[in-house]
């Protein structure tokens, strides 16, 4: 059980470091890092949501960035209309109130995930991977075609989003803590969900879907629900990202972004919730820092990824796990 404690220590330490980061950055007179790490926390949320379907549900989706992008666009479009004082589709006014825009982003992303899941989850194996990828491309090109919102070039909007009259997203530190709070909330809620009856059903489907059906679970609806929830959380991350950047463009849902998310989840350790947080941190720091040494870092990183897959599948957080808690080899 010592190893289990080690894991708890690790999680608490990591979260504490994230909590203290803005103060440290201020003291070190490097406020630049606050924005950098806010971005990391946002992607950590997206990676957690992917891990729900990938690590816990065993569904290899190669289109998760689409839901992230949809969430971002909901916020971007509503902010844009609020700033321009125009109506969305000539019907709905825009909004800058995150109590409206963020839940709406979640809702739209979840609904899209529900629809896409409805078709995709009828298939399995390679078909599922290819279909999620193809749907993500469809969404990508949909936003490319939206010339009213910048098309390919994306859309910049005034970034003075105010959180419930309390927190201004222009305020670097306040916004950082808002994102941190969302991350902590997502972590806690997902942890509860994973240990709930629903969570066990999802993990049972990963282990042996045929068995699940044979003991009486209509597995499709549970997997669809999981896919939808994951899409919604990814949408929330996208909403935060839009507020973070004050800019949206289709490139945030390019299929390679979906690939990056998978890399984050696996590198950090899938099938744990803190793993994706670690993975997102390491991946994005690498992406930021390695180009200082060589601009050609992908030529090294690509083969490293291959080696990780071949030899270190448990991921960084996986090394901290006690052996009996690791997934047995199939």
């Amino acid at each position: 059980m010592a190893a289990l404690d080690r894991r708890h220590v690790f999680v608490v330490t990591l979260l504490a470091l994230f909590a203290l980061l803005p103060i440290a950055a201020q003291l070190a007179d490097q406020p630049f890092y606050i924005g950098q790490f806010r971005r990391i926390l946002i992607f950590a949320i997206a990676a957690i949501s992917l891990d729900l379907i990938l690590g816990y549900g065993g569904m290899v989706s190669l289109g998760h960035a689409a839901f992230f992008g949809i969430g971002a666009y909901v916020v971007g479009i509503l902010n844009h209309h609020a700033a321009e004082e125009t109506l969305f589709l000539g019907l709905l006014p825009g909004s800058r109130n995150v109590l409206i825009t963020w839940p709406l982003a979640m809702l739209v992303a979840a609904a899209s995930a529900g629809l896409i899941g409805l078709v995709s989850l009828r298939t399995s194996g390679i078909y599922f991977i290819m279909i999620t990828l193809a749907f993500a491309q469809m969404v990508y090109f949909f936003f490319v075609s939206l010339s009213a919102y910048g098309g390919d070039d994306g859309l910049r909007f005034p970034g003075d989003t105010v959180i419930a009259g309390l927190i201004d997203t222009q305020d670097d530190i306040a916004f950082y803590y808002a994102v941190f709070a969302v991350l902590a909330g997502v972590l806690y809620l997902c942890q509860r969900m994973i240990e709930s009856r629903f969570g066990l059903v999802i993990q049972g489907c990963r282990e042996n879907e045929r068995r699940m059906q044979a003991i009486g679970f209509p597995t499709f609806r549970y997997r669809l629900a999981c896919f939808t929830i994951a899409g919604g959380i990814a949408g929330l991350a996208g909403a935060l990202f839009a507020a973070h950047e004050s800019y949206i463009s289709p490139s945030i849902m390019h299929w390679t972004r979906s690939g990056d998310l998978i890399v984050m989840v696996v590198m950090g350790g899938m099938g744990s919730l803190i793993g994706p947080v670690v993975g997102a941190t390491v991946f994005l720091l690498m992406e930021k820092l390695l180009p200082d040494y060589t601009e050609h870092w992908p030529v090294v990183f690509g083969p490293v990824l291959l080696l990780i897959v071949l030899f270190a599948k448990r991921g960084i957080f996986g090394w901290l796990r006690p052996r009996e808690h690791r997934r047995a080899a199939p």
């Binding site: 991977i129 279909i131 193809a134 075609s145 990780i308």
Partner: protein
């Protein structure tokens, strides 16, 4: 739309279709026989284009360049198979996705190092330059006709290979039932390597002949790769016949999808969406594609 324009677009659609088929033929076999997801297939397409462009610059002859580049791409494919993919066959799909995603990063950056970030424009070989009045009143580029001919020739060759040879028999058997081929006493590793080499050569060839038509640039393989996936999935994974039919369908839908919306005043990106909507529709009714291979 006039009849002439329609016919011309139809030829364009066919030509895109056969290009997609060159990519899809090898990949559908890799997917089907080895039950393997290979995202790096588009990298071989890109390597084919770059190698061909370089050899063409050196030799000044496009055809010689193709002849030189083909075996090199096949060798790169074999090297990738032996070094990286072979160990992945037994792994789950997620491992394969990740590892081959890593290969894409590697190849894209490698090309940037060797050839630089600037796109290369290839000339159409003089022998195939110009247009013929293939359809009276609508002169059509000779080179595109040549691409069409190459694609159809490869399709015919594959048809012969798959239906008329022992190797083809093993490939078909492998797509339907892997264990059976192993039980026949065939060296399945060698069969996999051969199939992969063939697929690599075809993908490289597709890149080479696409070079003069489009632009030779980094990431060129990624965009067409996803269309190739659509083709394979629509056709049914493991089915060459399905890949051929689906490639032509996707080629047509994509080409007409580009012409029709702009004629109707709709954004061009809708064309890109059309292909995926088609795929979703087909898979909704037939989750294993149009020509499912019995497993």
């Amino acid at each position: 739309m006039t009849v002439l324009l329609f016919l011309e677009q139809m030829l364009n659609g066919l030509q895109l279709g056969v290009t997609l088929f060159l990519l899809a033929a090898g990949l559908t076999l890799v997917f089907g026989i080895m039950n393997m997801v290979n995202l790096a297939h588009g990298s071989l397409y890109m390597m084919g284009a770059y190698l061909c462009a370089t050899f063409a610059q050196w030799s000044g002859n496009f055809f010689l360049a193709v002849l030189l580049a083909l075996p090199v791409v096949a060798l790169i494919g074999l090297a990738v198979e032996i070094v990286a993919l072979r160990t992945l066959y037994a792994r789950d799909h997620l491992d394969q996705v990740l590892a081959t995603f890593g290969l894409i990063l590697f190849f894209n950056e490698l090309v940037k190092i060797v050839w630089g970030p600037v796109a290369i424009f290839m000339d159409i070989p003089p022998l195939l330059a110009g247009r013929v009045e293939f359809i009276p009143g609508a002169p059509y580029p000779v080179y595109r006709l040549a691409v069409l001919a190459v694609g159809l020739a490869v399709a015919a060759f594959l048809w012969w290979l798959i239906t008329r040879t022992r190797l083809g028999m093993l490939i078909r058997a492998g797509a339907a039932n892997r264990e059976m081929v192993g039980a026949l006493g065939v060296d399945i590793r060698l069969l996999f390597t051969l199939v992969f080499g063939l697929g690599a050569a075809l993908a490289g060839l597709a890149g080479m002949i696409a070079g003069p038509l489009y632009v030779v640039e980094i990431g060129m393989g990624d965009a067409i790769l996803i269309k190739t996936f659509v083709v394979i999935v629509i056709g049914g994974i493991g089915s060459i016949r399905g890949a051929f039919v689906a490639a032509l369908i996707v080629g047509m839908v994509d080409t007409f999808g580009r012409v029709l919306p702009s004629a109707a005043g709709l954004p061009a990106a809708l064309a890109e969406m059309m292909t995926y909507i088609l795929m979703a529709a087909i898979l909704f009714w037939k989750p294993r594609g149009l020509f499912p291979v019995m497993g």
